[in-house]
Symmetry: C2
């Protein structure tokens, strides 16, 4: 059985975006509710229509959110296990729940506070509660030697990619510059001042070879999307955006990733999306040549380069030249990427902003609209397990 085009994203909503600390006394549930109200209004629905929740990255207390929103009868709720790679998987689970008849209108919602009440900085090393006497291999083998943060770990993968394929930090810079160009055209983006390769090169090194402008932002806000059946979508306010296909996966057996550094051979210079890309294209009945625009999770600029390779937009090792040639620009690129300004420049809220931008592209309402965009690829955090991706279709 295939879910191809059986469900749609019919509503999108966000809060305003805030720099670190800027959301003030708002709690995560405040941000979730605000984004939700915007998403249901966008869809032409009311909160009363929601009967399912789809979460990722630790989830949230479904009963509490339901109570605060005043939902009459919640029928389904689920979380994609794992961390920030689960955003598109949460959309995928919503689609499966609607298709299964477990729920009719599923809210996919995520808020993030970087600091302040209830906030938690992403990327700060922390001892993870595994309810085990010993932690994972990262705690046993990496932390004691100072290898603790995502930035440090991705730096090693980036360096390896440079060594293996001749990728340059200037190419990482190209990702940052193009993404900022797109952000400069998006009034909602937090960082809108265009940057140059020289700015990138002058920004301070955080984890060699990664510089400040290779890192995603530390920001705050809420995001929400509404998933329902294609049938119901037809009578709603917006042009329906079909969930063509979805896939979840990770580095091989998922036991490998940036926290373990055990990946064999060229898997270490992959974003971890390769096995999942094959399944995604197969489920969609489409290939890289069919993708009009890609919103790719960009927590670190080199990972965009790796994803371009893993999704077959260029050969392995050719991602650097691809971006250097302007291949990802919204107007002239072969494959426009992160047309909203991504995690690097718009806002970093762990994934749904990419889905929301893909929906805008397919509705024709992006601030950097790709002409006649019909098919979009959206990816979740690479290098973590699980990660996930969607193909959406107008």
């Amino acid at each position: 059985m295939s879910l191809r085009d059986k469900t749609c994203i019919v509503g999108i909503g966000t809060t305003p975006f805030f720099r670190r600390g800027g959301s003030g006394t708002r709690t995560e549930i405040d941000l979730m509710c605000e984004a939700t109200l915007n998403a249901v209004a966008d869809a032409g629905l009311s909160v009363d229509d929601i009967d399912g929740f789809s979460f990722y990255h630790n989830g949230f207390d479904a009963g509490r959110l339901s109570s605060v929103l005043g939902i009459p009868e919640l029928r389904w709720s689920s979380v994609v296990s794992g961390g920030g790679g689960g955003s598109q998987g949460a959309i995928a689970n919503a689609a499966a729940a609607v298709a299964a008849g477990y729920a009719d209108v599923v809210l996919c919602v995520k808020a993030l506070k970087a600091t302040g009440p209830g906030g938690r900085r992403i990327g700060r090393p922390r001892l993870r509660d595994q309810r085990e006497p010993a932690g994972g291999p990262d705690l046993d083998f990496n932390y004691p030697f100072g290898l603790m943060s995502p930035g440090q770990s991705f730096a090693m993968m980036a360096r390896r990619h440079m060594h293996q394929y001749g990728t340059t930090t200037r190419q990482f810079g190209e990702v940052a510059v193009t993404t900022r160009l797109h952000a400069s055209r998006n009034p909602a983006a937090l960082h809108r001042t265009p940057i140059t390769l020289a700015d990138h090169d002058a920004s301070r090194v955080i984890a060699d070879p990664l510089r400040l402008l290779d890192f995603c932002l530390e920001t705050e806000g809420g995001t929400a999307l509404i998933v329902t059946s294609a049938e119901r979508a037809r009578s709603l306010r917006q042009t329906p955006v079909h969930i063509r296909a979805a896939a979840q996966g990770g580095s091989g057996a998922w036991g490998q990733g940036i926290y373990t550094h055990q990946m064999p051979g060229d898997e270490y210079t992959s974003s971890g999306h390769r096995p999942l890309a094959a399944r995604l294209y197969s489920a969609a009945g489409l290939g890289p040549e069919d993708i009009d625009v890609a919103e790719m999770y960009d927590h670190f600029s080199p990972l965009v380069i790796m994803q371009l390779e893993d999704y077959g937009f260029c050969a392995v090792g050719e991602g650097g030249p691809f971006v250097e040639d302007g291949g990802t620009r919204w107007d002239t690129g072969r494959l426009p990427v992160n047309t909203h300004g991504g995690n690097l420049s718009e806002v970093y809220l762990l994934g749904f902003t990419h889905t929301i931008e893909a929906v805008r592209q397919l509705r024709g309402t992006s601030t950097s609209q790709v002409q006649d965009a019909e098919v979009a690829l959206v990816t979740s955090g690479p290098g973590v397990n699980p990660t996930s991706a969607l193909i959406l279709r107008r």
Copy 2:
């Protein structure tokens, strides 16, 4: 779209069951792996066939479990949000994932340690991490006044049921006595010595009106089930047990439950399964008269009485007389309930042991076999949000 009978439970496995502390130095992941190996062997599959994980109650690190089991490619993983009421929801999510084509063979797995390395007593009051400045209403309004544990909360609901419907503690005792009778026939059960109503009445009061023998056990062990498509099930070792229908839900809008005590009117004397029961029967195209055997989550004996009412096996308020008349006995009862000995006497592992017993009944291999059992109801923890339930069919 309906999932009716499209997927099957094809393998079941457990570890030995242990009293509190009895699993010694085994960790939760040890227990999960042991149960998994038994489940795949039961199914006639190998660990290599698993490509999905379905969790509930906090879940588990999918990457780590995948790595330890040596799974070649994990394709999907998900957690039912919330607590112990999610067990059957985890089976439901597995079914939806298989139907959606996200995975072919999903492992539903849960281990519990009551103490020792990594163990955590269920039911012990704790401050819950809500990543919010204030906690939930339970923290604000109940805990300061000493209303902290599930036993205390359910005691209030039980007392209300007595007040409203004339239910007696002797009827609670009937649940305990019948369940122990079933456990006495199950070599795997931890408490096998039959008890009498006098034993129940002589057991100490823990949270008035609940006595020791009204409480579930505090025990340890692992449980695993394998879900795959009905098509694939046909070529496997065991008689396939079809997932006829599944539902998730809770007390009204899920914001209510034992931790808030806000339920209006007769919802307070309900198990919280009522709205979900209606959807479950509708999805199954079956009614209470079609159920041959029910495995009902019995963390506290009065909740079995409430579930009998909520699932329509008797009128509301008639659950007490139903059990008093021997209605739940495996051999002569109108509706055999908890034929393995349940959480009260076999083992308390948060839910999958009930599903496993339902599978045994439909395979014809229970130690208290209900003759010609064709349809089974399995429920998850009542009074918590979400809760969930399945109807299984031979």
